[in-house]
């Protein structure tokens, strides 16, 4: 049982990393959102698996919230925003896709390099899911990288969300989730953040006739 569940967990973690890579490779906005939804669902399933092992009730709740908010509500909101501001359908990366993929590969290696002592050497962390830490850090870094390498405001929001997913994975993997109240607060914050950012994306579009953030260069020294 334990064997098979950890296999599932590892598989889901790998799926999350994979979706992140595909998101880097994709150049259609809609597929980005869909990939994000997929990733969130995978994350929710992973949380459920963990919950099934540890039997911690609040993780189930968190898993449901993840699937509900990140897998459904937020993608829907993003699609709504994209629809409203009628942006082009292309992603418009700053760095070419092959190079990005290469860099993200490097980032994954770096993430593993960084977390390696924590996972294997120190032995302080005893969770069965600790191997996922490297993947979660990789997802955080790649999400971060997305924000740097993409032009559009919406893609930046999605990069941030990807980072959050990575974080969430980390939380699950090394601590079996944060205390409930904290989790709830975090979800609330993320939701509000996306809302506000979406609003600003509107305002940017209205003011500049574009959601390209590289033209936001009035303020400089």
């Amino acid at each position: 049982m334990a064997f098979s569940t950890t296999t599932i967990i590892d598989g889901l973690a790998a799926a999350i990393l994979l979706t992140t890579f595909i998101a880097i490779a994709s150049n259609r906005m809609f597929s980005l959102v869909r990939l994000f939804a997929l990733q969130s669902v995978a994350l929710g399933l992973l949380a459920m698996s963990v919950a099934s092992i540890t039997g911690a009730g609040h993780i189930y709740a968190v898993a449901v919230l993840t699937i509900g908010i990140k897998g459904v509500v937020i993608p829907w909101m993003l699609l709504y925003v994209m629809d409203k501001i009628r942006t082009t359908k292309e992603v418009e990366p700053l760095v070419s896709i092959p190079l990005s993929l290469l860099l993200c590969g490097v980032l994954t290696a770096v993430a593993f390099y960084i977390t390696e002592p924590i996972i294997f050497t120190s032995g302080t962390i005893t969770t069965i899911t600790k191997n996922c830490l490297a993947i979660s850090l990789a997802v955080v870094l790649i999400g971060f990288y997305t924000m740097i390498a993409r032009k559009k405001a919406v893609t930046q929001i999605m990069g941030l969300l990807t980072m959050e997913n990575g974080l969430f994975l980390a939380a699950i993997s090394v601590t079996y989730g944060m205390p409930m109240i904290v989790e709830l607060g975090i979800f609330f914050d993320i939701l509000v953040a996306v809302l506000i950012m979406g609003m600003f994306a509107f305002r940017i579009n209205k003011t500049f006739d574009s959601v390209d953030t590289t033209i936001l260069r009035r303020l400089h020294d």
Binding site: L94, V110, F144, I148, Q156, T213, T214, R218, H220
Partner: protein, 688 residues
């Protein structure tokens, strides 16, 4: 009234004066009178306080609540050394206050006199508190209060771009100095015994040999020298001085040049002789070296300067150099004396002599430089120009100003029996009596200081002939000068007191030197008054070396001048004095044919060409024919060596670096995120 009450009253008066000026800012005239009456009054109180301590014995102590526990006791103590500087501050403060009554009139309606009164009173107060602070932090606070108030006063004519940039240079330099002083104090604090203390009483315990590690002592010495040297105007830290002094209103220049730069002398004396102890001979030699350079550079630049006040400012650099020559000599002697007080007892005497010379010259310089700046202010007041090439002929138009300025010029040129001469005489004596130092290298270096002192004196005389000549003599070179009128009486009174004291402190130096000896003996523990003064004669301590009596010289001159007058009357009888034109070789003379100030200094410019690196530009405009010239214009500029080769590159470097760094804030959010990304990765990889 005892000393403490007097001190309290002094502080109260100053504060009241400051507040009163601030609140009366609306009524210019009343404000002018009130603020400077208050400052005169407080100066008088300061004078009384100084005399009480100097003539009596013991100290006056005033304690404030401490800012932060751990900072020690915030108290003001007036001991002999403080009292001496308090004396100088009060005298000049009183003169300048009276002078300002009239001088500031021209600011009515242009700038706020309330501000002037506020700042002037604060400045005066902070000067006194600087020389009496008895705690390192309290001292720093007062020191910067002094700097800031003087900075604001320099910027008083704040709509002139010139004042603003000069003020900035000044405040930045002085801040730099303060930073170094602060570090030095912290180093000293770290070495105070037991539970570290910022009190000066704890600092005094550092003077024992070995109380501080060698490195810490030397670092503290260097930092203090640079820090206070900045304020004093030692080369190459002097650059602010010729900028700030001319930009300030003249009453402020007088205070700054006359007394503010001396507070650095005060504190260096206290730090070196009172706290650290001058155990190393090289300290004194270094001071001597820098002092020699300062004296020479100061006077050389003063000779070339066409701005009256700037020339005076450079002359301050020179005189600070002279004071530091004596100070350095005292440090050299004291270093031998400290090591072996018995065998080198005579060197202890010499140290005392050199220190007396330094202090005497400090007092004299505050008087005559104050006087000269006030005189320059009077000239400025009457002619609205301080360009030497536009002045001239004022001796006839401003008779009293001319006479008073002349007394200042005589004093600063060390003409006997004025006070400037007495100071230099004492210095020469202390430098010449060095045969008994066992180190031959030191023996060789001291004559160089003598040579520099002599050279400086001669050049200074040339400089002041030029300044006085160009300003007051011959014909006016511009309409401003031609229409000049005598200044108001209060200004003359202020200058008159200073001029009178220049003469008195010279002629009656016999009375003053013993008092200064009390000051130095409180520091060095050696009193030489008994050896120095016999009746009317000043003679240095080493037996029959030499003697001099300023009083006798004064009396002799006073006899000789009427005598020569009488003789010339007597010989050949009375004859008429006819007034006529100056010999003009047949072509009428105009003010344009006079020797100009630049012309006057041209030969010296030639000798010291390698120092000045003059840049001469002659431009000729022709008429239609290339043979007939329409006009020829000539301009000569000397290279500002320190500004160009020391300061400009430093500033340039900082600016270039800043500009380089500017690329990081280009507005791209992607780039901004990338910085965070990179920092994060680097830290994680380094510290994983």
């Amino acid at each position: 009234m005892n000393g403490q009450e007097l001190f309290g009253l002094f502080i109260l008066t100053s504060l009241l004066g400051a507040l009163a000026s601030l609140s009366m800012g609306r009524w210019s005239k009343a404000c002018r009178v009130v603020s400077f009456s208050f400052s005169t009054l407080s100066s008088m109180l300061g004078l009384a306080l100084a005399l009480e301590v100097l003539l009596g014995s013991g100290t006056v102590v005033l304690t404030l609540p401490t800012a932060v526990a751990g900072f020690g006791t915030f108290s003001f103590v007036i001991d002999q050394l403080s009292a001496f500087f308090l004396l100088a501050i009060s005298i000049l403060g009183a003169c300048v206050s009276i002078y300002s009554l009239g001088y500031t009139k021209e600011y009515e309606g242009k700038y706020s006199l309330g501000t002037m009164g506020l700042l002037f009173n604060t400045f005066l107060l902070s000067l006194v508190l600087v020389v009496s602070a008895d705690n390192a932090i309290l001292f720093l606070i007062m020191w910067e209060t002094m700097s800031v108030s003087s900075y604001l006063l320099v910027m008083y004519e704040n709509r002139k771009q010139d004042s603003v940039s000069s003020g900035l240079l000044y405040v930045v330099m002085t801040h730099l100095g303060t930073a170094l002083i602060t570090v030095a104090f912290i180093i000293m604090w770290l070495n105070t015994p037991g539970d570290h203390s910022f009190d000066f009483s704890a600092f005094r315990e550092l003077g024992a040999l070995g109380a501080m590690p060698e490195l810490a002592r030397n670092v503290a010495f260097i930092l203090l020298l640079i820090g206070f040297g900045t304020k004093a105007g030692l080369v190459p830290l002097h650059v602010w001085l010729p900028q700030a002094h001319p930009a300030a209103p003249s009453n402020i220049s007088a205070m700054m040049s006359g007394i503010m730069v001396k507070t650095a002398v005060y504190m260096l004396i206290r730090c070196y002789f009172d706290f650290l102890g001058t155990w190393d001979t090289w300290w004194g030699l270094l001071v001597l070296l820098i002092a020699c350079i300062s004296a020479l550079v100061g006077v050389l630049y003063a000779l070339m300067e066409e701005d009256l006040k700037r020339a005076l400012a450079y002359s301050t650099v020179e005189n600070i150099g002279i004071i530091f020559i004596a100070l350095g000599a005292a440090m050299v002697f004291e270093s031998y004396h400290l090591v072996d007080p018995v065998a080198n007892a005579h060197l202890g005497d010499l140290a005392a002599l050199a220190l007396i010379a330094a202090l005497f010259h400090t007092l004299s310089h505050s008087l005559f430089k104050g006087l000269l700046f006030m005189g320059a202010g009077a000239v400025l007041h009457a002619t609205h120009t301080k360009n030497l090439e536009e002045l001239g002929g004022l001796a006839k138009r401003m008779r009293w100003t001319g006479v008073l300025f002349f007394i200042g010029v005589l004093s600063i040129s060390a003409i006997p029996p004025f006070n400037g001469f007495v100071g230099e005489w004492l210095m020469f004596q202390s430098l010449l009596l060095t045969q008994n130092i066992t180190d031959p290298m030191v023996n060789l270096l001291l004559p160089v200081a003598v040579a520099v002192l002599a050279l400086t004196g001669a050049l200074a005389a040339a400089c002041f002939v030029r300044i006085f000549g160009a300003t007051f003599l011959a014909r006016p070179r511009s309409r401003h000068a031609a229409e000049a009128q005598e200044v108001p009486r209060s200004m003359l009174v202020g200058m008159g007191i200073a001029a009178g004291l220049c003469v008195l402190t010279g002629v009656l130096s016999i009375l003053i030197v013993p008092e200064i000896d009390k000051v130095t003996s409180s520091l060095l523990g050696v009193s030489i008054a008994g050896k120095l003064v016999n009746g009317l004669i000043l003679s240095p301590p080493a037996g029959e070396f030499s003697s001099m009596s300023p009083l006798a010289i004064g009396v002799l001159l006073m006899i000789a001048i009427p005598a020569s007058l009488a003789i010339s009357r007597f010989l050949g009888g009375r004859h008429k004095v006819v007034t006529g034109d100056t010999w003009d070789c047949g072509t009428p003379l105009t003010s344009r044919t006079e020797y100009s100030a630049s012309g006057f200094s041209e030969p010296i410019n030639r000798i010291f060409k390698s120092v000045y690196r003059p840049h001469i530009e002659v431009r000729t405009e022709y008429t239609t024919s290339s043979l007939i010239k329409r006009r020829i214009s000539f301009s000569r500029s000397i290279e500002p060596v320190f500004e160009r080769y020391l300061y400009a590159p430093t500033i340039g470097l900082v600016l270039a670096l800043a500009r380089r760094l500017g690329f990081i804030q280009r507005g791209s959010i992607q780039a901004y995120l990338a910085y965070i990304f990179v920092v994060l990765l680097v830290l994680l990889v380094v510290f994983r």
